[in-house]
Amino acid sequence: MFDNINFEIIPNTMDALSLRQNVISQNIANYETPGYKRKYVDFENELQKALSEDSALTLKVNRDQHINNTLSLGKIQPNIQIDDSKSLRDDGNNVDPDVELVRMTQNTLKYNTLSRLMTYAIQRYETAIRGGK
């Protein structure tokens, strides 16, 4: 039952977003640290690639293939990268606090939405289990 896309992709993505929140927080805390270069998390590209290669998400379903592919979709690793771009400040620090704050808001929103979607999926299972009673 838990090979469903929702129980693999959504928790995996939420892990990545939680990591991203850490990284953004580190950037903001080091806004005035001389020489500090901002970090970011790479995740969506990997997931996009895996999704476009996965035929389970097209509406034609092949049962066996479905199970194999979705299990690997839940294992995408996020990774932390350093943004080396030049800074406009003379202390070498390239953190732009406005950008970091906006990213943080987007990240929070996405995390909250995904947890809402997870809830929907769980409730659908509950409906099916109860048989509508």
Binding site: S18, N22, S25, E32, S115, T119
Partner: protein, 140 residues
Amino acid sequence: MMDGLFKVLDIAASGMTAERFRLDVISQNLANSDTTRTEEGGPYRRKTVIFQEALNESANGSKNFGGVKVSSIVEDPSPFRLVYDPNHPDADAEGYVSYPNVNVLREMVDMMSAQRAYEMNAAVVNSAKSMYNSALGIGR
């Protein structure tokens, strides 16, 4: 990975601590902007804080993020303000008094930026709380 969100709180807390410390130093500068006599002799010299990224050696990946720490407090080497006032008790042989190299306007600007940085870290705490609460609500 719930500890991921707790880590965010630690990191933001370190940012707030560092900025609070910086505010203390700025406040010290402002309070002593006219101090011509210190314990070491001579006028007060402006101080600034140097920040450093805090990393814990224990683990790798993001687990070692520790936010930021104050690595040192340094004195500003720029020259003192000389004011001609031969009647002042601290006047030197030519009648000049050395005043601290504290520029009040500069300190005010620094203070606003410390305050802004402090508020940004507080915003991080709020966002982590929001995420945590919504994760707690999964399934309800």
